[in-house]
Symmetry: C3
């Protein structure tokens, strides 16, 4: 890991330095665990108390927060890096000090199987036991890890990483700078059968799938190919592990789709939609721009743009909160109804008579 | 893709042609996107308006629907293919015009590892880096894609396809015409431990697993072997991706089990059960014939045959709908109870006194 | 399978034999299916009726249950093995009669790729097409099945089994006697991005992951590496298939985590926590010792130690049961409120006037 002065780091982070710019740091760490050669982050104001005792050399903070605490006696001075977007500043510091995973350039392994018609760009690494099929095109600076299978007629853009055991079915298109994590499958058939005479007849799935640029997909996800038109995942969308995206889905740009979410076939999302973990989205829905969907929700109707929804069936988060609070009071509400009935019975003329 | 006359296609689909049988088509497409050399489908009456403007040569429709719309002026004539089971007719048209995925016959790769005791049928393709273990039997016309592992004593029937990265643990039996998609695992151990002295002692799982004929399994599913008797998946059942079927389950024929569903150990299903996505079914339940289970349901008691259930805990769909509607009114119901209490308080003699 | 006398078996199981100790058995089976050379188990008192008719030679039972039934006439005598922990006795009998899966010692396959800097212990089996990276250390008696990828700087302890298609990302630590089932991924990146200018910037994940001793992980699970400090899975914890454990989680010892559960980043569990299937646990929670979480629960706040929780949002199981019972009565409760309103309206002076 490199050693950087706080002044240098402040420039990288586009942050305002309060403190001694000549002091050096070589790693990032939590407020609690940081040592005097490390920087830290105050991401949530409720941890501000830890500023009083952290041993970090400097902490990334929001502007103005510095005045709100008193440093514990006997501790060395603490510098601050004020940044408007503290989490982004932290990410920049992490990249500077720790870096992203590096990938060794191993060239083309003689133990890989590459079809003679496949076209590989410059500076491509193909690890042992990878398979590259007929008419496949691979861009420049791509890393193809062991046990990757790329079936015929697929295309992978520049600067991509395909981790071990990734499978691309035939005719998939992967854009530039995409990271596909271990064991993820792209381009398998949509789940569609026509029932007749007690038999489920498999519907052909000749559509393809397009991943645009700058997409990351976690481990063990399944992105189905289209039935006719291609399934499409928009630029810059980040997908977690165990995610399932059905055939024909049109996923917008910059989406965040967290682990174990299932998006049924022909559902579409707008831009910057955020979908938490274990969510289910019914087929053929349209999720508009900037919608946020809470964990484990079951989305059964189209939400309004820019709303936050949660629950099964998913509804506006504030309404759902009120419903849940009242659900927790249900045993009590039931008792109060019974009590009311008794009182009304007493008050009624018949009982009075 | 082939080019077919509408008359020829009508014969294939067992459909009644209304229109010019000499006109030819070469592909299927949606009503919206179809071009004059394509056929389309009206699967849902609510899209009937698109019949007025589609550029398709012909549309597959239910008998009688043709009279219910007026074609927009200036568009070419539209033919109809009337079929009782429109979705099956569409599947037949898709097969005729687009076909199912074809699999190149690559023979036995010298880079596959096949145990000398394994028996392979006629016309088997084994791709590079596949492993076929001791005493394995493979039928005729089977395609074994790269990175498949078949452990010892397993059997695969005729006309099967095992896609990349499929794992069969030892002693699995796969029937004829089964399609196992990428990375699915068959025959792993059931999850069972006996706790004693603070240690979870692994229960041996010597049972096996039998997949009958005509089964398709999606990507990344896990079908566990039995603890004693074999787990069994019935003929013609179709299973999606990320599905988990526990040890000892007896799954009936013709089931449809959609993505990310978990069926716990020793649960059984009857015939033609339909289980939507992300469902959980508790262990040791019996799901009778023709039951339909809605997405994300948690099934905790045995449903009645031929019913539709939904929710957690799952109950009859109509009842659940009424419950959900009332849940949405809960904040209002709570207010009304409070209001009633005030009014009754006013009416009661004590308050009057 | 071996043949054992009941006397011998009673010693193994530390059970009290009631009956003929010279009789022999060679397998375990259910009460219903057992033959006269097999033993069986009465695990649940509600199946005690099957003791009247089972053909087993002997049955493992809790002390004292023998008096509670009458054997059907004409059947051979039935012996009993009384044990305090019947399920553990059954597990011991299963191990004695059926055994755990055995793994053939295949040595180091010439078709595996092992980096020259990797260190392998004694008696290691490395199957074809496995990859062992730079600076990897493997202990003694380890079985590495086909298509396993172990990336650089990872460590695997003694007596481990890595089933086909397991991926270990770089710098993972696996303890002794761990079983990692097919296609599971250990050490992939946590899902973390800092959004700035419409771009999700990937947060480096330099942390690692430590699996302590005696852990089993099912198929297709994903255990993420830490962002800074390592993710840790405690000794003796058993994890099912399709489980997702996020970055930085500290999972305690002896946990049972069943299929398709998602534990979000930085959540911690105490010792002997039991988490049923399809559960979601929010990030940064602390689940204390001995907590039991019901299937499909969504845990959003820290539960109390030693409690049982269920539902979404998860709450104490008894409360949740009462809530669910009242939810099922909701349509009826709503009607009763309406009825009360009518009656109160009639009783109120205005209506009277």
């Amino acid at each position: 890991m490199p050693t950087l002065s706080l002044a240098d780091l402040a420039t990288t982070l586009n942050a305002t330095l309060i403190g001694d710019g000549t002091r050096t740091v070589s790693a990032c760490n939590t407020l609690m665990d940081a040592t005097p050669d490390q920087i830290s982050l105050l991401h949530n104001a409720k941890y501000a108390k830890e500023l009083e005792t952290t041993k970090a050399a400097a902490v990334i903070v929001s502007p103005g927060i510095v005045k709100s605490f008193t440093r514990a006696p006997g501790l060395p001075e603490l510098a601050f890096l004020e940044a408007k977007n503290t989490y982004f500043a932290w990410q920049q510091a992490m990249v500077r000090l720790h870096g992203q995973r590096t990938h060794q350039n191993v060239g083309i392994s003689p133990q890989a199987v590459i079809h003679p018609t496949a076209k590989l760009g410059h500076n491509v690494s193909v690890h042992p036991f990878a398979i590259i099929g007929e008419n496949v095109t691979i861009g420049d600076n791509v890393h193809i890890y062991p046990h990757v299978t790329i079936m015929h007629d697929s295309t992978v853009g520049n600067d991509c990483v395909l981790y071990p055991h990734v499978t691309l079915y035939e005719s998939c298109t992967i854009g530039n700078r995409c990271l596909i994590n271990a064991s993820t499958v792209v381009g398998s058939d949509g789940f569609a059968y026509a029932q007749a005479n007690g038999i489920h007849h498999k519907m052909p799935q000749p559509g393809t799938i397009i991943l645009e640029d700058d997409i990351e997909v976690g481990c063990h996800s399944v992105l189905e190919r289209g039935a006719l038109a291609p399934t499409r995942i928009g630029r810059g969308t980040k997908i977690g592990g165990h995610v399932f995206i059905g055939h024909n889905c049109q996923i917008g740009i910059g989406n965040i789709i967290i682990s174990a979410t299932c998006i049924s076939g022909s559902a579409n999302t707008g831009k910057y939609v955020v979908i938490a973990g274990q969510v289910g989205i019914a087929g053929h829905l349209d999720i508009p721009d900037f919608v946020k969907i809470g964990a484990q929700s079951g989305v059964m109707v189209n939400p309004e743009p820019n709303t936050e929804i949660v629950g099964t069936p998913a509804m506006e988060a504030g309404l759902m909160k009120r419903i849940v609070l009242n659900q927790m009071r249900l045993p009590e509400l039931a008792k109060r109804i019974k009590e009311l009935e008794k009182q009304v019975e007493k008050l009624s003329p018949k009982s009075a008579g």
